[in-house]
């Protein structure tokens, strides 16, 4: 039985700490934080190995999309702060 615990924990930590995973845009930044946390929580209780593999593969694919997307969105940051960021 393959355990992904250490990898999952490291991905989780990287997702929340790394600047390259954070959008300059307020709404997208908050959504990404909430969705990743909830995504990990929802899959925490999976026991069926094939489902666990599926979830892990999906998470890795989403990570690639996220990094590429954040890189692109950071090239076009908003010119003024959002009211919520004051």
């Amino acid at each position: 039985m393959v355990s992904y615990r250490s990898e999952v924990v490291s991905i989780c930590r990287a997702l929340f700490r790394a600047r390259r995973h954070q959008y300059p845009h307020y709404n997208l930044r908050e959504y990404t934080k909430r969705r990743t946390l909830d995504g990990f929580r929802m899959n925490k209780k999976l026991t069926d190995q094939s489902k666990v593999n599926e979830a892990y593969a999906e998470a890795k694919a989403q990570l690639v999309v996220l990094e590429r997307s954040v890189k692109l969105y950071s090239l076009y940051p908003p010119k003024t702060k959002n009211i919520m960021e004051f």
Partner: protein, 452 residues
Amino acid sequence: MASKVISSTIRRTLSKPHGVVFRRHHLSTAAAAATDYEDESIMMKGVRISGRPLYLDMQATTPIDPRVFDAMNDSGINEYGNPHSRTHLYGWEAENAVEVARIQVAKLIGASPKEIIFMSGATEANNTAVKGVMHFYKDTKKHVITTQTEHKCVLDSCRHLQQEGFEVTYLPVKTDGLVDLEMLREAIRPDTGLVSIMAVNNEIGVVQPMEEIGQICKEHNVPFHTDAAQAIGKIPVDVKKWNIGLMSMSAHKIYGPKGVGALFVRRRPRIRLEPLMNGGGQERGLRSGTAATQQILGFGAACDLAMKEMEYDEKWIKGLQERLLNGIREKLDGVVVNGSMESRYSGNLNLSFAYVEGESLLMGLKEVAVSSGSACTSASLEPSYVLRALGVDEDMAHTSIRFGIGRFTTKEEIDKAVELTVKQVVKLREMSPLYEMVKEGIDIKNIQWSQH
């Protein structure tokens, strides 16, 4: 060593979370403060706001989801061929991409990919459906049934048909916004060619009883068209269960790009229509013209995402709607929700505030991007026709505000919206002599105003 320091400082400045502001240290502090303020705030149409307002107008349009944007980029850059070119790789690649998107859209609504026609948006789809079906059957069918709360494009198409000689019945709605099924049953005649009722209303957010309406249309063998632009990806939509013949869809309401939509045209039993766009016969002859590959891909990706995220988003948005309504109701009285509370899509909240003047309320809510049903947002002086169809009084219709909650809305934004709305309404009510009279117990409707 120095170059490393310089490059790290540049990297740090450029990766700031908000817009880059370079402070000019050589100016005096007062002048520096003035320039900084001018740099950071926004001045538009004579109004100064300190930052970008919080966005609560999801029924008007939604921001593109970054995952959808990402799906559009690779294909948009590399697969630039015309999907209708049959002779080379570029055409084949583009055609594959469009077919993948077609399957994604079809899966969301429970249809077959052959029944989806891509268009430039829900307005074009509505026009094609209403005018196309009636023109095709113009020898035998002369009657169209629709409701008074439909979208402007459907109502305008029906008016156009009336000028051509067709007859249109505009069904009234009950005070909660729902269609009366008995009235619909009675209105159907042997020469009725189309029934057009939207699934989720864009102004008040009520969900019509689609299954029952579909059943009635099936009994009488009348094609059922619905404008589902606000419904797909938000409530579960099944064209078989609802017995739908034609359905209009729009991409920019479900976190997709603007400029693309689709029309579902049932094949079994076959619905025939006359195309609006004539040309090379693309899209089964119903919509000629080169397919906008990049936009269509975005639409497909948005539908795919919406199918996966529907449950999660619904739970989040419902929680936010309750937070908004309870937050406002705790601090204010005289708040009315327009439209049925039970049969409603949770992301749309249309509130009317009693004893408050509509335009001044909107002028004070510049830091929240909301929409309203009052005169100042429409070209004429009349309040919204949807609210009038619900039987809402003129003064309540003028103070209506539509809050649109979506996938990207946060709890803090809702709290801030509640705070700003309550502050503005309280301020206006304090100034209002009508409210004073109501507080003393005088019934406003029974006052005999004296003429001066």
